[in-house]
Each structure stands twice: as structure tokens, then as C-alpha cells.
Amino acid sequence: MRATTRSTGEAAVGVPRWAFAPAAVGGLFVLLPLVAMATRVDWAGFGSLVTSESARAALLLSLQTSAASTAACLALGVPMALALARCRFPGVELLRSLVMVPLVLPPVVGGVALLYTFGRRGLLGETLEVAGLQVAFSTAAVVLAQTFVALPFLVTSLEGALRTAGARYEAVAASLGARPTTVLRRVTLPLVWPGLLSGAVLSFARALGEFGATITFAGSLQGVTRTLPLEIYLQRETDPDAAVALSLLLVVVAVVVIAATRRGRGPL
């Protein structure tokens, strides 16, 4: 505490001394399980375990589908956040709550809901089937499931950033003759860039870890729908060493993604 106080010249006002103890316990609570897991890794066989054919297929599929669903979250979530943050229309508060539903819904329930929407007998399933598209139990279903659960992360994060930035810069830009699309591209998005980036990272991380909705809606077919979390769950029954190794791999991937975007987030 002393050292940071001296280096930045800022005092931590408003933090009672007793708060440090539970804060430390909380930190340990997050870190300890990761350490415990790392101690169980079979380091000798680690290389072969994480490079097995099924592991590589699962990792590749996870990265591909998470990237795709992050892209889908951006394509849908940016306009959603804009509408929620900037427009005033009846029911906007209700809509804001509804957007958060996937966040509190058990992922399995999300998977069931998606099945009854895009599945063969689903609301849109028959229409899609006529059009020659079969979504359920395909890679597309994985992306849909991940997008469904990850979208609220992007929308909330970006909406908060938009509200903080306020609409005043946009009003000035418009008064200078900039069309709404130009304002979005040259003013709004650059201003909320940190919020957009952290929203995208959160979405990606959530998509990477998605399990319940995926297994319900997309199943577990190697190379098609079996992402890394599904692979870990399956391996846990038959080969605990492989499960632990793959878990560590997933942790490393998540940490690398977060670290990379943190570094790129500096001042614009």
C-alpha cells in the first residue's frame, strides 16, 4: 500500500482497513482452484495429451466457433447497444431487461429454447429445412448457442460505454455535417473503443467456455460440435489426465486472449 501511495501520489481514500482481509480471501478463492488443477497436471504426458487428434480438433473448433460468435455478437450487439443507449421509445426499459435474460438463464435452458426455435420441429426449423438449412446438431448450432449466451456481455459493456460517453460529441459531429453512419464510424465507435473491446473479449471468453447450451442444442460430435469444454467433460470420465491437461490449455487460451487485448487497449 505504502509503495503505490508514494509512486502515484494518490491515497486510497474510502477503503476501510478491514476490507483487505475478505478481498485477499476472494482473490485466493479465484486463484487456488487454478493452482490446484495445475498441480495435478501430468507434465510428462502433457504434450501428447493436448496434441491428440481429438484435442486438436476440439481446440480448433472452439477457436473457430468462438471467433464466429464474437463476430456475430458485434454485428448484432453494436446496433442493439446503440438503440438501447440512444433511442427513447416505449418499452425500452423492458427490452433492456429482456436482453439480459441469457445472462441469468441456465445455459441448458437456453439450449432447449434454441432447439425449439431452430430445431427440426422448432418455430423456424421447418421453414429453414424447406430452404435446405438444417441447423440443429451442426457447427452453425454451436455458433448460435455461443452467440445466444455471449451477446448480453457485449451489449451491456458497450451500452454502458455509450451512456458514459454521452451523445454530445455526436450532436457536434452531426452539426458539422456528418451523416449518422459517418458519426458512428468516426466519432462514436472510436470514443467507446475500450468498452467495445472489453465487450468483445468478454463475449469471446464466454463463447469459449460455453457448455450447456451447446451440448443441448448442438450435441457432441467430434470435429463438428464437440468444442473444448465438451471434450474436457467427456475425457473426465475416461481419461482424467487428459481432462486436466485440456482444462489448463483452456485457461491458458483465455488468459492469453485477455492479456493481448489489455495491452492493445491503451490510449487511442
Binding site: R168, A171, A173, A174, S175, L176, G177, A178, P190, L191
Partner: protein, 368 residues
């Protein structure tokens, strides 16, 4: 008429009609919450009127009929630029990119837009800061860049919403100077509660109170013979208009008023106004000699209490003196007195708009 506005917005108790002629500057003077910003918002397109019409250059920007918008030109297509209290420079763009934003958005090529930006920065005296990020500018510099940016968009109408309110007092003269030169040929509306801004920058003044225009006229007329309470209160300053002689202001009555040397160079014969507070005016029964003072012969018209002081109103100027002095001098209406003001208490400004033909004097109300 370049701009005509007649609009109501019951939610804000706003019901205003006003117009601005080509190349003229209208000052909206009024207390906070009077509806000045609402008027600007309606013209800029950030607010919709409930009822009414706004026309710029013969083009209807908005027409509403009892809550239904019949015509609506979106803000970006109005050619109305807005300079707010805060500069709101885009933090992710350099100073030059900020100023070039308007032309770029209107489809001008980068090189042409940058050249236009540099020219505008030159006009506000900040060309040397072009490649800096806005975060490194002082408040005054940032506001001058914002002015350059607004003008670079080549607006038909420039709206200035209390452009000096958020600035330190010691940096406002430079911006005011920039505005004086740049608003000369620009059609503009400026909102302010500072009588000095109206005096220096505006051709005409509309006093807004409670969402209504309560008074309207040429700046000199409104400030010299205010009819509304607010104008009277803010115009409580003594204003003597005339022509610059090289070391003073010669009024039409023949007096020469000496004051602090103005910061900007004035040409002999240039219309100028001497401004001083009633509290700076001393009252004597006999002529005073020797000290560097401005002295005026005057007849007392009325006396009225004003806080701890007494406002002595004469046929020419107003003075605020202590009740003791008033008693010692036995001042009564009709008394002949000498008014004197130290030159150091008098500010001299070039006069905005047209040359006033007669003396300004406060009629009622208080100096701030």
C-alpha cells in the same frame, strides 16, 4: 431574412418567435433556464418543436403541427453548426483532424480539407498546434479550435451556446477577439448572460425570460433603454459610446472618457464603448481637480436603495454610493452634482455591430 423561427414546446414552456438577417449576429440574453438553449436546440435539430416552423434560407428545416412533425431536415443536413460551452473536441483526433472533420464529412478530399483546417486555425491564431492532440490544449485554446472547427464546416448559421461560460476569465478576451472578427460576416445566434458579449458581438439582442422573448431590438437600444427586468439588471453597467480619439472615447455629448488602454489596437475614429460599474462612480457637489479622473456634470433624477448602497440615478449615469455619503451630500432629485470615475475603473471596448448614436445609461436594476 436568413432564419425565421416561430415555435412552441409546451414541455419546456417555450414559445418564441425570432429571426436573424443575413450576416447579422443575434444575442439571446437571459437568465439560466430561460429557454435560450432550447431555441438553439430547435434550430440545430436536437429538439423537435411541438408546433411551429423554422426556415433557413427559404428552406424549411422543421415544421410541426400540434405535436406532429410534418417536415424534418436531420441535423447533419441543416448547415447549422453548434459551438457549445465546452469545446467537445474529438479526443481521438488531432487538432487539424478535428477542424477538418466538417469538410471531410461533407465529402471534401483529405488534402483540401486539411488545407481548409489550417486556414481556419490560422484565423484563430493556433496554426502551430495543428498536429497536437486536444488533451494538450488549454481550455481557451480548445474553445478557439472548436470555433475554427465550427467555421470550417462552412455553416449557413452558427449557433454559439454560452461559448465563454466555461472558460477562465483571463482567457476570454482572446476568444472574444476571435469571435469579433469571425462573426462579422457570419450569420449567428449567441446565447449569453454576459452583457459584454452582447455589446461586443451582437447586432441585435433578444431578451428571453420564461420561454418568451420579452424584449427585442438593436443591441445599443436594448442595453441603453432596457424594458425587461433581466435586461435592466444585466445592463446596470454604465455604458458611454463614442469614437476612439487615440487616448479616450469621445461621446456625442462632447466628453472624452479615459479608461484602461484596450488590449487590442484601436484605430482613431473607431466606434468604442467605455464601460464601468455604478460602484466606481463617485458623487461630488463641487468639481474635483488634480486627479486622473473623468468628470461629468449631471442632474440627480432619483435615489433608491440597492443592498447596502444607494443607487443615484442621474440624467447621464448611475452611481452606487453609501447611505452616509448620500446623506452628507443631501442628495435630492434635481440636485446638480459632479460625477467622477477613475480612468483605472473604466474598460474600453470596440463596439460590436452598428455605431450607437446616443449615450447608453442604465434605467433601472442593479449591477452584478
Amino acid at each position: 431574412m436568413t432564419l425565421t423561427l416561430a415555435a412552441t414546446l409546451p414541455a419546456r414552456e417555450f414559445d418564441v418567435a425570432l429571426d436573424v438577417a443575413e450576416g447579422r449576429t443575434l444575442a439571446l440574453l437571459g437568465p439560466n433556464g430561460a429557454g435560450k438553449s432550447t431555441a438553439l436546440g430547435l434550430v440545430a435539430g436536437t429538439l423537435r418543436p411541438h408546433h411551429g416552423e423554422i426556415v433557413l434560407d427559404g428552406r424549411t428545416l422543421v415544421r410541426a403541427d400540434g405535436g406532429r412533425t410534418r417536415t424534418w431536415v436531420p441535423p447533419h443536413a441543416r448547415r447549422v453548426a453548434l459551438l457549445a460551452q465546452e469545446p467537445l473536441l474529438f479526443p481521438h483526433l488531432s487538432v487539424r483532424q478535428n477542424v477538418a472533420f466538417g469538410p471531410r464529412s461533407q465529402g471534401v478530399r483529405r488534402r483540401t480539407a486539411d488545407a481548409a483546417a489550417d486556414r481556419r486555425l490560422e484565423q484563430v491564431g493556433l496554426a502551430h498546434l495543428a498536429s497536437r492532440p486536444p488533451s494538450t490544449l488549454s481550455g481557451g485554446q480548445a474553445q478557439r479550435v472548436a470555433l475554427a472547427r465550427a467555421l470550417a464546416a462552412e455553416p449557413r448559421l452558427l449557433l454559439l451556446d454560452e461559448p465563454m461560460a466555461a472558460l477562465d476569465v483571463d482567457v476570454t478576451p482572446e476568444l472574444r477577439q476571435n469571435l469579433r472578427h469571425l462573426l462579422a460576416a457570419q450569420t449567428a445566434i449567441i446565447t449569453t448572460h454576459d452583457v459584454l458579449d452582447a455589446l461586443l458581438l451582437a447586432d441585435e439582442v433578444a431578451v428571453v425570460e420564461g420561454g418568451r422573448v420579452v424584449e427585442r431590438g438593436p443591441t445599443a437600444q436594448v442595453l441603453s433603454r432596457p424594458r425587461s427586468a433581466f435586461a435592466a439588471r444585466v445592463a446596470g453597467l454604465n455604458l458611454l459610446a463614442g469614437a476612439w480619439t487615440g487616448d479616450g472615447v469621445r461621446t456625442p455629448a462632447g466628453d472624452v472618457v479615459h479608461g484602461r488602454t484596450p488590449t487590442a489596437g484601436l484605430a482613431v475614429g473607431e466606434p468604442t464603448t467605455a464601460v464601468f460599474r455604478p460602484a466606481a462612480v463617485a458623487v461630488y457637489l463641487d468639481e474635483q481637480h488634480g486627479s486622473p479622473r473623468n468628470a461629468f456634470r449631471a442632474t440627480v433624477r432619483s435615489l433608491e436603495p440597492r443592498g447596502d448602497l444607494v443607487r443615484v440615478r442621474t440624467d447621464r449615469l448611475a452611481a452606487d454610493i453609501t447611505p452616509q455619503s448620500a446623506a452628507e451630500l443631501s442628495l435630492v432629485p434635481g440636485a446638480r452634482v459632479w460625477l467622477s470615475v477613475k480612468a483605472a475603473e473604466v474598460d474600453v471596448y470596440p463596439t460590436g455591430g452598428r455605431v450607437p448614436s446616443d449615450e447608453f445609461r442604465p434605467e433601472a436594476g442593479s449591477a452584478r
